[in-house]
Symmetry: C2
Subunit: 414 residues, 2 copies
């Protein structure tokens, strides 16, 4: 990693064809230079225009690391927050975003145990995942089952490990319990729904935008419109409330959520997507949100017999060194995958050059399941944008660059 | 209960012999009047002088209730808070304190299922336990194992159910984890230590006053002086912290406690004994403490992967109707008792008339295990008090009544 870091400081980053999308077979044409690779670069915190695809020095694996030829990368809501800088202690741009990928082991560093060249793997990466090649310590790398596709693998690790650990490590989900999940149509939401179905008689209350309801109705027991007063509707169905509440929104929902818990129920905050509103650069919104979030009095928890928890898989892995625990969870998940009890839901595949459109889709919460950056995919041809679909990004962009933001690509819907 | 309530409003309460302690065989002498019973009465919130033993109308079981001839009652730290009025929404005095007892079923109300006259039982009671006779709904009553004594039974229910539910329902204690418990020498502390020993390889960090260390050293893995900087000592032994932290103190300890948790660790507040300082009546100290307690930001929990919970068994039973869950926990506990894996620790037995001395002992944290009011016990003879042991109670009493507070009894140490 040190070597790669050094490379970054001497960044010779240059924009490859800005309208690369129009050149559908660009990546096939480019010479395969072993000293460089393509990567998505975030040049500074802010709007979509801060993202571009550039060439970067090829990373080489350090001791204990695995070098992966990336096939697919996962795109998460957190990546939007990274782009805006609305996370705690963001690294200094320019940087390569992305926290997970799948691919093939190309080489290993000294003293790297457990992996061989050619292994199909999925990996957690502490940034730098959105590239053709990634190096990451072996403890963050997991072998893929034979029948799992690279797109599925890139959709699997973060969402399913997060869902599993929240349900079974933090909340101790058991037969007969009930779970409410926000963003039921998202990657974690769909993983939660599938994992709940592995426990007998678990009721899942899902909250999602109306337009997703038809697609995800079968995955949950009850489905509510996120713009309606779902609190009242849940209380009508289950006056006592729910046993587990999974909140990726934060903000006003903390208090609402606690009020919806049964005694001994557990509220888990695992994201803060309410911190992302428009596309504007907002360096201070993390701090602002911190103060705006309703704080919890432990005596209230005592009076009401309630549990409140926070869960961040990336912090658990990269700040708190819990790789061993995560590996044991991954083993259980791969068992469930083998038994065909769970299967990652892929929303759509995008070329690296289409990262802006992919981000806009997740920002607009248009996805059902996971958005994947398919490194080998060529961008789809641009078409004239439909004026009724003017995006927030377009409206709030601080530094319009007159690039292809006014065009739209046809995403490759899986 | 309604009938008893009516009786309270026409309270004909009179002080029986104020110095009943001197008359060692008082209870044996008194005629057994079936229309009255002896009970501890709290005449108003405040110091020890608010407590006395009086006669009250005999309660009769209502529909679904069990009438219990009480043999022993449990005395808990919470009873001190009730006496001082430092709990949320305390009932209006005069009242009979006490939340648990053991005894023999004397009769049952209409439609009361599951109990017969003569059954040996232990019961949770929503006040009114410290009396010769108690009526309580059958769902709060549990049969005692044959070999369990009444004193053990009165020491069992609240402490062991609380300890079990915190460790296994809230915190999901598993092999290899670590638990830190405050007040390790108290009733809950000793129950926690015993229950931890039923799980392989659990490390117990106990915090207790130095003078208890010799007596409880074998029950825990590591023992710390509550007046020393145990946080640093725990971190020295276990730099990562602990998996479960059980706090009955509240106050400044919330923040300290959270800092001592491992990632995915659980902090459980199950009491607030720091709210009790002296013996002064302090109607506002509950509200004050509420505001003084450090509040928790959910985003901090997210960043640090931590869990904070509150647990109040009495609220769970009497406000939140979780009798069924508590019964299933009690069944598991009685199994462990039968297997001789757990055994309640009784600190000392006291006559009803000795309730002040018993309260002073728990206030001074002098107990190891549970203090029991033994309804059939005669008060021990008074002896001149040792001037070096002037109690806080004596010093801070607002309305000194010149009664036997200046005398001390020899407690019957079990």
């Amino acid at each position: 990693m040190a070597k790669e870091g050094a490379g970054m400081t001497e960044e010779t980053e240059y924009m490859i064809d800005r309208h690369v999308g129009k050149d559908a077979d660009c990546s096939a044409d480019s010479p395969h230079d072993a000293k460089e690779m393509r990567a998505v670069i975030l040049s500074g915190f802010g709007g979509l225009n801060k993202l571009r695809v550039s060439r970067k020095p090829m990373p080489e694996p350090q001791e204990g690391e695995v070098k992966i030829r990336v096939k697919a990368c996962g795109l998460n809501f957190l990546d939007l927050m990274v782009r805006q800088g609305t996370i705690e202690n963001p690294p200094k741009p320019p940087l390569v975003p992305g926290f997970e990928c799948s691919g093939i082991v190309e080489s290993v560093g000294e003293n790297t145990k457990g992996f061989e060249i050619g292994d199909r793997v999925m990996a957690f990466v502490n940034y730098n995942a959105w590239a053709e090649v990634v190096c990451t310590p072996a403890e963050f790398v997991h072998k893929m089952p034979d029948r799992m596709t690279f797109a599925e693998a890139a959709a699997f690790a973060l969402n399913f490990v997060t869902a599993y650990m929240m349900l079974f490590e933090v909340a101790n989900l058991r037969e007969g319990m009930s779970v409410l999940v926000h963003s039921a149509g998202g990657g974690v939401g769909q993983a939660v729904a599938q994992l709940c179905s592995t426990v007998p008689n678990v009721t899942v209350f899902g909250v999602a935008s109306c337009f997703k309801h038809a697609a995800i109705r079968d995955s949950v027991t009850h489905l509510f419109d996120r713009n309606a007063d779902y609190i009242q509707e849940v209380k009508r169905i289950s006056p006592e409330g729910v046993d587990v509440l999974l909140d990726s929104l934060c903000g006003e929902n903390t208090g609402k959520g606690l009020s919806l818990l049964k005694p001994l129920g557990t509220y888990i905050l695992y994201g803060a997507s309410n911190m992302v509103t428009g596309e504007t650069k907002s360096f201070f919104s993390f701090a602002k949100s911190w103060w705006q979030v309703e704080k919890v009095n432990p005596i209230k928890l005592y009076e009401e017999n309630k549990v409140i928890a926070g869960f961040s898989l990336l912090n658990l892995l990269f700040k708190q060194g819990r790789c061993g625990l995560v590996r044991s969870v991954m083993d259980k998940l791969l068992c469930l995958y083998d038994q065909k009890k769970i299967k990652p839901v892929v929303d759509s595949l995008w070329a690296l050059e289409e990262v802006k459109e992919a981000m806009q889709r997740i920002h607009d919460r248009g996805n059902i399941g996971k958005l994947i950056l398919d490194v080998e995919k060529s961008p789809t041809p641009l078409m004239a944008s439909d004026s009724t679909e003017t995006s927030e990004a377009g409206e709030e962009e601080e530094e319009p660059e007159g690039d292809n933001d006014s065009k739209e690509r046809m995403p490759f819907i899986h």
